[in-house]
Symmetry: D2
Subunit: 354 residues, 4 copies
């Protein structure tokens, strides 16, 4: 008798719903995790809107918190009952990309090599907006939740925090740097926290929403600027005597991208997290003569990354929890998607409980 | 009695000519260098065409080879008669930009801080297409020519070689990397040499001119591709199993920029040398999810940089000399500009002898 | 009539005293700074003890806080009356070492090239335990004190903070690292602060003095260990599951050095600040097969470094002031040396007021 | 009927011999490789001499070239009959160490974490001086030999070349650096090649054996120095104006280590490959005030590393083959060990053919 489980299934553009799907069994190298908490990502909205195509019938979601239910052959060092998270990106650790230090671009061992290859949950394999999720390459991806941290505290680690922090890391924020973070949504807020944690002595948070700017202060912004109320580029140049060492951009709109670029000092770095394509204005980019760097990063995953992030959550007491503004049972995930897409009621991140 | 000297003076858009101008005297921290050889850069053409505005009356040129004539107060360790080169970019070594490791973006000690600030010769101060040139911050910029190297061998160090090599350096080419260099003009050829010297095991040179592709082989390209004869992006992906580690772009046209970007593997780097502004196509840039880096660099200058480049010239015997295809006396520099601008007769670089 | 000033003059091994010496006049590129506050460094004790030889008659001291009294020719962007600090290390910015990014090993423009060359104050030229100090290469070394910071708050920037922070920087502490700092004297305490600021999620402070361990907590240590009460290497391995990512050592005794080395995980880094020579035990160093790095650093100096450090002091409110435990007028500096050397009365750093 | 195979088995200190041992069968994640060529390493001698303890009965050898015989479950992208090499170090790709970028210190997935953990062949599991070798974590370790390369050409990739090149990489040799390589045995010769390939403009090879110095020239040394005939430290300082940017040491004797350290310029790096423990002389190390770095590295392994090395062998035509001076059938491996240990007859590396 095949057991089933409820899951949030993509049913074509604009349509998602809870369906009973077969409960998976872990094969070689895999783990089955009972999901205790997950959330919805902006990327899930892209999928729902048809902007990022996936196959119909796919279970969505890539931010799992849960408990190991069963382990496939070859996975050692873990036990059923262990509380774990798994990164949104699940690298194999063994392919050319992984062994080259580009695990997010994982080609899965023995497979091909294409951009964003490491993103599998809710993209190329079933995701975690379900009662259970099958973790591929479990040895490289299961991460034990340290004692003393509850599910809510680690919910942002798999994606939002990893992505946000990577902006500061890839941008190589150093002790005493000035950093401006454009757009203070969940990822931008984590980028703000990351820049502060990495040693910036001036962190400038930019948004137009006063509540988000207030959250930015809580995450470590020294100064907040409302771009609807002032010329932020001019103000940043004034505050820094010519531009920030690193600008971080997490919105992916042309105006934000340009403002971020114009805020960078000569020789500085734009660290861009948006899902972007656009124009590099000649003046803002100093016609490529400004020794600028433009770096992008896709959410790093894997056991060790998750361990690091959870160690920061445990040690530094940042208000990541405040970013989770609403909670829904899995059965009401359609309403959760609707709320999250609408961006109303001050929604930041939505907790989903299977 | 004021002494004068002949110099190539910018006289407004499209007009350059030899004029007698006052021969300068070195003040504090400066050196007067008698120019024995110099050349014309693509940037000089931008100036002549009015694309890069400079004041009328300016002496052009930023690639000096010569002999120290006199030293101002405070310059130590050099003697009149020493053979020297000076980088196109002349950093002060003492301002915030210089002390931050961004010497090309030099703000001159005590001054401001703006992009491309380190480029002074033939831009904000008189250049070296003249009998003499005044070197600012001479202590940080005079570089002794090693015995055994003649003027022609070091002529490309001040700009072309420094810029071309910086593409490999800023792109962080590593042992065993694959690198594609788009456009094999003088800078691209030096980038090809730089990628090879930095340890790439596959250097791919791209151009449409067969003679330049032949030169590319001489500079270290393992494979050359004519982009008018084949789909270079497809061929590069085939040769590398998915894309190069580093693509270098030195032409600054949208098509070249896009091809370069599309040739980079996920996680790889585009190192761009063009004087560019343009579009980042969403697919080519993996919507910013490909962990790509886009780095730019302006020709590093200064004593130590020039010393390193000349040590490579002396040790490695690369055919940099072949890039100097024509020679003119300073008095005929108008003809030299005309030839260089026309790109006819296989001109690569033009030697100018005051 | 030659003006004189009081200064702490080295008079041979074990002898220091206040003498009237000629008040200097700034020559080309120099500044004269009226010292308002300075301190005594452990290195001054080495000099006094004859361990680090300097010429008799030298004015000691290398940590100046003061006001610009006069500027020599060629120093621009500053005014008499400006409040400034100058780093203990005063690089020229223009020699091979400086232009290679090794400014602490400065050879002074045009001069030679030897280790520790950038340390001039109180070593090769007169220092700042005096009413006035002459600043060489002032353009690269004067650093304006930001409004709102008083002398006491920036007193540690020239040496102690720069050195301590450099341990974390050279050790490349990353977000989420574990770091152990051995010895919590003034430099170790600043290293503790630096490790925390650089994003470590676990900072372990080690000492045997409970008051210093308490200070370590205030500087950012998450855990403190008393090495007289427990096996710190075993405890560090237990806390970290195998060793820290980075160990910092600031005492320069063989036992401390070995403990630090044994605390590092395979692949980790020992960042050493001590004035050390000693033994690399085969087991602790994994017979050189552990992919370990051993990095050393001499206090970075220069305008930009000082600016960064002061920006951190201004922004982060760390209790650097608590490290200054005693205060003396310049005229009583002999008593200050005696107290500092004795390490009694809980002395950490001693303020000297000319 | 259990099949057996001949293998070189360690039988206690000083004793090695060919024994028939069970031919292994690949389990989950493993591959069975038929060895076509292998060699003996200096580390094998340490084992034989009892300096590095391993269990009696172990098959020695960690440098396999061969053909895939069979694949265990979970290994994809390879076929029996594929020609492969496997690195001496065989990381799992999935443990904390591997995911932290320290694959040589691999703890095997789920296991512990100790130094040199990634070295398994002929250390903690049976090695490749046998007819067949079982490859653990095959997905991360099998590396296809490119068409056109024969066994002899890739024999040094698994260990000697990877180790030697890592000295230049970990030492961060840059374009135009000066590098001195102390001791021109097989690893030192590969370090010489690596330094040259990485862009050094001056590579100095040091040894006392004229034939090795001649080989050093073939591998890329610009200058060779016989340390029995001259004061190499003085000569290196003369040639470089103060010391090399990077010194590489591959002998692990105190005198060599000290010479290497004394040859480094202030701010430079000592990259050490020896199996070393010893003394850091205060003067040579500038009492830790010279901003020196001391880096060590254990032979990087894994599929991608091997691919890179073979791409360099294929592209650059260096005379790695000349390092293989003698050849023996597996059955005569005792004689091969004896010759290799004696260092007579100009032996460099010995080919072993099962």
């Amino acid at each position: 008798m095949a057991r089933t489980m409820p899951a949030a299934v993509f049913q074509g553009k604009g349509r998602i719903g809870i369906r009973e799907v077969p409960r998976p069994t872990p094969a070689l190298g895999q783990a089955l995790v009972k999901v205790t908490l997950t959330t919805i990502c902006g990327t899930d909205l892209y999928i729902l809107n048809g902007e990022h195509p996936v196959r119909e019938g796919l279970v969505l979601g890539h931010e799992p918190v849960g408990v190991i239910e069963a382990l496939g052959p070859g996975v050692v060092g873990y036990q059923p009952g262990d509380r774990v998270i798994v990164g949104a990106i699940s690298p194999c650790g063994q392919c050319y990309a992984c062994l080259s230090g580009d695990a997010s671009q994982c080609g899965y061992s023995g497979g091909g090599y294409e951009a964003v290859g490491g993103w599998r949950f809710g993209n190329t394999i079933d995701g975690c907006q379900a009662e259970y999720v099958l973790v591929p390459d479990a040895q490289a991806n299961l991460a034990l939740i340290p004692d003393g941290l509850d599910d809510e505290e680690v919910l942002l680690c798999p994606d939002i925090m990893s992505t946000g922090f990577s902006a500061a890391e890839r941008g190589r924020v150093r002790l005493g740097d000035s950093v401006a973070v454009f757009a203070q949504g969940p990822i931008g807020l984590c980028a703000t926290a990351g820049a502060r944690l990495a040693g910036a002595s001036l962190v400038i948070g930019v948004d137009r929403d006063e509540r988000r700017l207030e959250l930015a202060r809580g995450m470590g912004a020294d100064v907040v600027l409302n771009h609807e109320e002032q010329d932020v580029v001019a103000e940043i140049k004034r505050l820094t005597g010519g531009g920030v060492d690193v600008a971080i951009e997490s919105l992916a709109e042309q105006a934000t991208f340009e403002n971020a670029l114009r805020s960078v000092r000569p020789g500085g770095t734009l660290s861009s997290l948006g899902v972007y394509s656009g124009h590099l204005p000649r003046d803002a980019f100093a016609a490529e003569l400004g020794d600028h760097r433009l770096v992008t990063s896709l959410c790093p995953g894997g056991t060790e990354r998750m361990r690091r992030l959870m160690s920061i959550v445990a040690a530094r007491g940042l208000p990541f929890r405040e970013l989770v503004t609403h909670s829904f049972p899995l059965t009401e995930i359609e309403a959760a998607y609707e709320l999250f897409a609408s961006q109303r009621d001050g929604v930041m991140k939505v907790a989903i409980r299977p």
